[in-house]
């Protein structure tokens, strides 16, 4: 086994070991839990870097597996696949995890579930690393489900908060809906192609062995999983609610890593998706729609974490759009930069919440002066997400826009541009409302401790500079690394660049006018928007619609079935019992105790028997 593979196997095992240790001591020595967890992820991070280095030096898939389940003709192995894509993901995940865990030392300090928190984080790291390393659908699905579990556990971390418990359940169940399609997709694929390994399946499908309709079906079913996990419309509803979890969790799981798993999955199976133009079109359209849809909702939200959540949904839509229009490398590039700046945003938000104890941006204000590190890093992140030259988001977003443009789907490109504008607007709104202006009198906000600010700074640097690895000015290394054979790697398209930058700047300026300089009062704007504001504020009433469906349709159905079971199916059973008793009673009453009646019965029996015989 090459050393790289061995290292890759060890990468998820370190956090797993850390998890076991951490959960074991979580109640008595929670500090030890945290230490184990950070040590585990740190080791994994170093190994990941080493593996990435190996891949950079000599790219090429490396594999290893052990048999895991054998039933009939099905042989399922636990196998890993190390290639540029997975090695990049390893580094992203371990890096973000490490930073978030360090940050959590400060953020979660004093919490009763301190040890438990870290053990869950370790479990998450293990699951996520497994997911990206998998070389077959089953292991992918396992990692997929396990990260879902961790998400569930961490959203519901403060389980005594009813909202948290409810949000955790919602997240899991909504994801399950997507996974339903995902699993069916795997089943269909395994039956049609006879394999569960990526490599074989991709070769099989790319080889044209299946009818186009079949490929599209498989691709779309698999995509269902991504819809759920990456919060694409219409299964995006869980992600904003997931913000009930501790903020580091939101940063790690619900922005940078887990929710990107859907994007990763599509990228990982790009060989399959590429075979079906129809599927790609669906992905692109849905991605674009989600991007603008979530951005619109974000305009009207007041909860800092929810705004960020919708922005995450929007950005994930972006990535999907990229993949859908053939921008494989662009999508992954954006995933990478997004991991950096979105984590930064969340950690920054966490820092703010930690300081002011509320999520409502209108209750903040003027924090810039009280929390300079947080404010500055946050501002970098805002620039990044808005796509302002030269921070990271600018480069990756540009790549996506170029890919959309190049694909010929003009409508998608326009939607993407609109999103750029909206993004600039709502992010600026967030920043200016929270950090600018006068501090609230009653606020005693202060800068967070060092363990929290150091990760902020590191992430700030990354958010600012990470884009350079994909910049067309500097050779687009990451694109070449990920997709060495891809024909089109967009160069510098000035037109696109100008259009998007202009829109982003306009968006930000518009927000500054309203929320920063108060040239137009926010209240006025709100009133002007009227019903539009109401719709946006209520997130297009999607949650209400789902609740109505669940209450009206689902619960009615289940209650109906339960009734049917009790009264019809079981009713028949009880009826048989009652009928026996009743029959016994009837015959019993016929037994009069008078010997003449007995004789009569006998003789009737005689007559009946004779009658039967002679007729």
């Amino acid at each position: 086994m090459p050393e790289q593979v061995l290292a890759a196997v060890l990468i998820p095992l370190f956090p797993l070991a850390a998890f076991v240790l951490a959960i074991a001591v979580s109640r008595r020595r929670s500090v030890l839990s945290a230490a184990a967890s950070i040590a585990g992820i740190g080791a994994a991070f170093l190994l990941s870097l080493w593996v990435l280095r190996g891949q950079v030096l000599s790219p090429g898939p490396l594999q290893a597996d052990i048999p895991w389940l054998a039933a009939g003709s099905i042989r399922i192995s636990m196998g890993i696949l190390v290639d540029p894509l997975s090695s990049l993901m390893l580094v992203i995940i371990t890096a973000v995890s490490l930073l978030v865990q360090v940050y959590s030392l400060g953020y979660m300090k004093g919490d009763l579930g301190f040890g438990r928190f870290f053990s869950y984080l370790s479990l998450f790291s293990f699951s996520m690393l497994t997911l990206v390393l998998a070389d077959n659908f089953i292991l992918l699905y396992m990692g997929w489900e396990l990260v879902g579990l961790c998400s569930y556990l961490l959203i519901g971390f403060w389980y005594q908060k009813p909202e948290a418990a409810s949000a955790a359940k919602k997240a899991f169940v909504v994801n399950r809906v997507g996974d339903f399609g995902f699993l069916i997709g795997i089943l269909v694929l395994s039956i049609l192609s006879g394999t569960l390994s990526y490599g074989e399946a991709t070769r099989f499908i790319a080889g044209g062995s299946l009818a186009p309709g079949q490929v599209t079906l498989i691709a779309l079913l698999l995509f269902c999983g991504a819809i759920g996990k990456s919060g694409q419309f219409p299964l995006h509803v869980w992600l904003p609610d997931a913000m009930e979890g501790p903020t580091p969790v939101s940063a790690l799981i619900h922005s940078a890593t887990m929710v990107a798993a859907g994007v990763f999955m599509v990228a990982r199976l790009y060989g399959i998706f590429m075979t079906s133009a129809d599927a790609l079109r669906v992905i692109a359209s849905l991605g674009a729609f989600t991007a603008v849809f979530a951005a619109l909702i974000a305009l009207a939200q007041d909860d800092i974490k929810r705004i960020l959540a919708y922005s995450t949904i929007s950005q994930l839509g972006y990535m999907m759009l990229a993949l859908g229009v053939g921008g494989y490398a662009a999508g992954m590039f954006h995933l990478t930069t997004h991991a950096a700046f979105k984590t930064l945003l969340f950690l920054g938000a966490g820092s703010v919440i930690h300081a002011v104890g509320t999520n409502d941006i209108w209750k903040m204000g003027g924090l810039g002066r009280r929390m300079p590190v947080t404010a500055i890093t946050f501002f970098i992140a805002v620039l990044a997400i808005a796509g302002i030259f030269p921070v990271s988001g600018f480069w990756s977003k540009d790549e996506i826009l170029q890919a959309a443009r190049a694909s010929g789907h003009l409508e998608l490109y326009i939607v993407a541009l609109v999103t750029v504008f909206l993004t600039g607007f709502y992010m600026a709104r967030l920043f200016f409302v929270a950090f600018a202006g006068e501090p609230r009198a009653e606020s005693h906000a202060h800068e967070s401790p060092v363990v929290m600010t150091v990760p902020l700074v590191i992430l700030g640097v990354l958010a600012a500079g990470l884009g350079l690895i994909g910049s067309p000015l500097l050779g687009q290394d990451i694109q070449r690394f990920l997709a060495p054979v891809e024909e089109h790697i967009g160069g510098l398209n000035i037109a696109v660049l100008v259009q998007s930058s202009a829109l982003a700047v306009v968006g930000i300026l518009a927000a500054v006018m309203v929320y920063g300089l108060r040239i137009v009062q926010p209240e006025t704007l709100r009133r002007a928007a009227g019903p539009v504001y109401v719709v946006l504020k209520h997130k297009f009433f999607i949650d209400e619609l789902y609740m109505a469906l669940v209450r009206g349709l689902f619960f009615t159905t289940t209650a109906g079935i339960a009734w049917f079971d009790r009264h019809v199916v079981d009713g028949v059973v009880n009826f048989v019992g009652a009928a026996s008793k009743w029959g016994g009673d009837v015959v019993r009453r016929g037994v009069t105790g008078k010997v003449q009646s007995y004789a009569l019965v006998v003789v009737w029996g005689l007559a009946a028997a004779l009658l039967v015989i002679f007729l």
Binding site: A164, V173, I191, T558, V569
Partner: protein
């Protein structure tokens, strides 16, 4: 003569019954220790069997065959193939955990443990008998003690439930009896030995007539829709250990019977009827999980979830190929352990809060973190989370079933969504959120005044969880073992 391993396995609980018979009732601890020793020893034998079974050779091993009733062609014939090994292991685990979970039985402990171990004897026997007469004998022995176990130590409308369960299952066994006799005479071999019967060539019409008789007979015990309604009532009224044993092992006994007798012996009938069974199993899975959603009583929820999960077993059986059969057997094992855990946990919760209604208590996790953790893990097993035993089992079933019945399987997979829904809803209501406990009588709620699982409870739970993790993390030894037994069946069915 070699050591009669299998006879010893069911002989141990039987011996314990005889010993307990002579122990005075007031020495409850002695009774419990005897029971625990016997069941743990049986478990030990089962584990040993698991490792000693030669997977390379396959087939029936550890065979004991002694002439018994020559006139009827009945031999004392026990043996174990891969499936038996799994199910014997399951039985050993569940009964050991069950005895531990019954440690707090103080009302008439002597009779309780006598009946419990009698039941165990029967279950062990069924899983090793290879003469159909012997099989049927053990089958009935394992059903009947349930009546008193539920009737005396149960809760709620226990007498109704006990009677319904017993009669319903016995009605199933009436069909089985008719079916077995039919096989005996139709084979023309004059023997009830399974291996001899399986060499007979049965007339196609005979197969079509007798397959449903036998399948429904056994299917009743496996809660095949619409013959499942004994299960919610029975389980909800039964004492903890009995629910564990019943849902954990006895329902498997029905599924095992379906596999052993109608499917293996009447492949022609199987090919004709199993598509209909697949249809019923859809109902089991979806209808079961939807019914579970509407329940408020924890035990009803678990019982309906069992109905749903047994549907997966049935789907696997109905798919006629090795993958699905393998998955079905693995699911039997997995569901057995899982539902044992579920009922054990419900019993422990009930023992503390004295209510099983989901809406009458909440936030228990703060007081009982260990119970909560086990409950969550068990729930996750039930919704098929990877890493836990439910996943490889359900996956194999779905992989296999999809080849046979794609549309049906797609509908069945929706069950995983509904299962997630009700399991997590229960977890949420019961363990999360604000702590409270409503007393139905006084309509007042108080804070919780009880503690977490004690050491004995933890032992029972951990024992079960160990197997859930073992199967979930590394199913290969299990599936290989099962494969040795189901491959010939699949070949006989000519499945894909």
């Amino acid at each position: 003569m070699t050591f009669p391993l299998l006879t010893t396995m069911y002989g141990l609980p039987l011996l314990a019954v005889l010993v307990i018979f002579f122990v005075p009732e007031r020495r409850a601890l002695a009774i419990k220790i005897v029971s625990l020793t016997a069941s743990a020893a049986a478990l030990g034998l089962a584990v040993w069997l698991f490792f000693a079974y030669d997977r390379g050779v396959g087939g029936l091993q550890f065979v004991e065959r002694v002439p018994w009733l020559g006139v009827l062609g009945v031999n004392y014939f026990v043996g174990a193939n891969g499936v038996n090994v799994m199910l014997l292991l399951l039985t050993g685990v569940i009964i050991t955990a069950g005895v531990l979970a019954s440690w707090d039985v103080t009302y008439r402990p002597k009779e309780f443990f006598i009946l419990l171990l009698t039941l165990t004897t029967g279950v062990f026997g069924v899983f090793m008998a290879y003469n159909l007469f012997l099989f049927f004998l053990f089958y009935e022995v394992s059903v009947l003690p349930m009546y008193l176990l539920i009737g005396i130590w149960g809760t709620g409308k226990k007498e109704y439930a006990a009677m319904k369960l017993t009669l319903y299952l016995m009605a199933g066994s009436a069909l089985i009896l008719a079916g077995l006799l039919g096989l005996y005479f139709a084979s023309g071999k004059g023997s009830f030995d399974f291996d001899i019967l399986s060499t007979a060539a049965y007339d196609p019409l005979f197969q079509r007539v007798f397959f449903p008789i036998l399948f429904v007979g056994f299917g009743t015990l496996a809660a095949l829709w619409p013959f499942h309604t004994w299960s919610p009532d029975g389980h909800s009224s039964a004492p903890t250990a009995v629910s564990m044993l019943h849902a954990g092992v006895l329902m498997k006994l029905g599924a095992y019977g379906c596999l052993l007798v109608p499917i293996t012996l009447l492949p022609g009938g199987a090919r004709f009827w199993l598509p209909s069974v697949a249809f019923l199993s859809v109902i089991n899975i979806v209808y079961g999980s939807l019914s579970a959603v509407a329940q408020r009583d924890l035990k009803y929820i678990v019982a309906y979830s069992s109905v749903s999960h047994m549907g997966i077993v049935m789907l696997g059986l109905a798919s006629m190929n090795e993958i699905a059969l393998n998955g079905a057997v693995l699911q039997m094992f997995s569901h057995g352990i899982m539902t044992g855990l579920f009922f054990g946990l419900v019993g422990m919760i009930y023992g503390r809060s004295h209510t099983r209604m989901v809406n009458e208590q909440g936030g228990l996790a703060a007081r009982t973190p260990a119970l909560a953790a086990f409950f969550v893990l068990t729930g996750l097993t039930s919704l098929g989370l990877p890493g836990l035993s439910g996943f490889p089992a359900e996956l194999s079933v779905f992989l296999g079933a999809f080849r046979a019945y794609p549309v049906v399987t797609v509908i069945c997979v929706t069950g995983i969504v509904f299962t997630a829904f009700y399991v997590l809803r229960v977890v949420q209501r019961l363990f999360f959120g604000r702590q409270f406990l409503a007393h139905p009588a006084s309509a007042q709620s108080t804070t919780l005044g009880f503690g977490d699982a004690n050491r004995i409870e933890l032992t029972a739970l951990s024992l079960l969880m160990l197997f859930i993790l073992a199967v979930g993390l590394y199913p290969l030894p299990f599936t290989t073992l099962i494969g040795t037994a189901v491959a010939p069946i699949a070949a006989k069915l000519g499945g894909m």
